[in-house]
């Protein structure tokens, strides 16, 4: 009947596609086999978890307060990522 269905529907198939980002980051950035040694790029030296947390915090701050503390701001694109939610 309705043309516009809500995007989030609790179907198991969809749920597996849309796992919560926080749960995914716990595993993808902190889990998996780590290969040290001959990796081309020094990615093993990057603290993926810390960096992602910084990105998340910057993003959440920009959503909840409209403007994050500029000193904490990692990039300026943060406020434009979620234009579906009005900043206030």
């Amino acid at each position: 009947m309705l043309d516009e269905q809500p995007v989030r529907r609790p179907s198991p198939a969809l749920a597996s596609q849309q796992v919560a980002l926080v749960d995914l980051l716990d595993r993808v950035l902190a889990g998996g086999v780590v290969i040290s040694g001959e990796v081309t790029l020094c990615i093993a030296d990057i603290d993926l978890v810390r960096i992602s947390l910084r990105a998340l915090v910057a993003s959440v701050a920009s959503i909840t307060s409209g403007a994050a503390d500029p000193s904490d701001r990692v990039t300026d694109t943060g406020t434009e990522r979620r234009d579906d939610r009005p900043p206030f």
Binding site: S16, Q17, V19, A20, L21, V22, D23, L24, L25, D26, R27, V28, L29, A30, G31, G32, V33, V34, I35, E38, V39, T40, L41, C42, I43, A44, I46, L48, I51, S52, L53, R54, A55, L56, V57, A58, S59, V60, T64, V74, T75, T77, G78, R81
Partner: protein, 270 residues
């Protein structure tokens, strides 16, 4: 694709398993393919260094939208492979110069990778998060001592006493919460092959209230999935002040370290 590129690793699977789906795309939207060596298959993709070079990657990782897209793409490849048999996921952003070096890696660490594949085969990672209701734990059963803390005639003293009682109540609540979390973990770990702990998630980022007293992964044999789920439901009833939430099934992200690096199932050290 032109310009310098690298080989991004997604996962390792047995070379005898089902092939890599032709329509599978990776973190750069690239087709995903296989590099095989001595019975092992690395599932990889070619990514441009213009986006995935060290410096570029550093910048991108600070951008949540980019990070989310890439992390989900990495996960999609691994999850798709996991449907076809055992997989060993690689840490996000593991890259080699070229396929030849990937093949050398497979040859060099064959025994290690085969052991890990065997350890995770037929098993699934389930995530369990436990949230404590701080208020209920602080005041459960004993009434609210803060209400009796002081007389009306001495508002300053009353206030201080009340604060002290509140702090005590909160400490008690913390203690109860961690005791109950340990009891929950003991039951679940008993059903799992291995347990891995993740740090509690940030309340704001994960959008919850109260305390996250458990954020664990359990590697559960598929034959025991139903039993594990029943145990979660039963524990949820047994501890009314703790809310349990599960996520998964996951490919075994949290169980890829060599043997001995995880808590052995069935024998938690305390």
């Amino acid at each position: 694709m032109s310009g310098p590129s690298a080989t991004w690793l997604y996962a390792l699977v047995p070379a005898t398993g089902t092939g890599v789906p032709a329509d599978l795309r990776g973190v750069a939207g690239e087709p995903v393919r296989a590099v095989e060596e001595t019975g092992l298959r690395a599932v990889v993709g070619t990514v441009p260094l213009g986006d995935f070079g060290e410096e570029e990657l550093h910048t991108h990782l600070e951008d949540l939208a980019w990070l989310e897209t890439a992390v989900r793409a990495h996960h999609t490849v691994i999850e798709t492979l996991a449907r076809g048999g055992p997989v060993v996921p690689l840490r996000f952003a593991t890259m080699y110069h070229d396929d030849t070096r990937v093949a050398s890696l497979l040859a060099e660490r064959r025994a290690d990778f085969e052991a890990t594949l065997e350890r995770v085969a037929g098993r699934t990672e389930w995530g369990i998060k436990a949230y404590a209701d701080a208020h209920a734990l602080a005041h459960g059963g004993t009434g609210d001592p803060a209400n009796d803390a002081g007389g009306r005639g001495r508002p300053g003293t009353a206030y201080l006493l009340q604060r002290r009682e509140q702090r005590r109540a909160q400490e008690t609540a913390h203690l109860r919460a961690s005791e109950q979390a340990a009891a929950i973990d003991a039951v679940l770990a008993g059903l799992a092959d291995s347990t891995a702990e993740h740090p509690p998630q940030d309340a704001q980022l994960a959008e919850y209230e109260g305390w996250m007293v458990l954020n664990n992964s359990y590697l559960v044999p598929e034959s025991r999935t139903a039993e594990f789920a029943a145990a979660v439901a039963s524990l949820d009833d047994r501890f009314p002040d703790i809310r349990l939430e599960f996520n998964g099934p996951w490919p075994p992200y949290s169980f890829t370290a060599p043997d001995g690096d995880h808590d052995a199932g069935g024998g938690p050290g305390g």
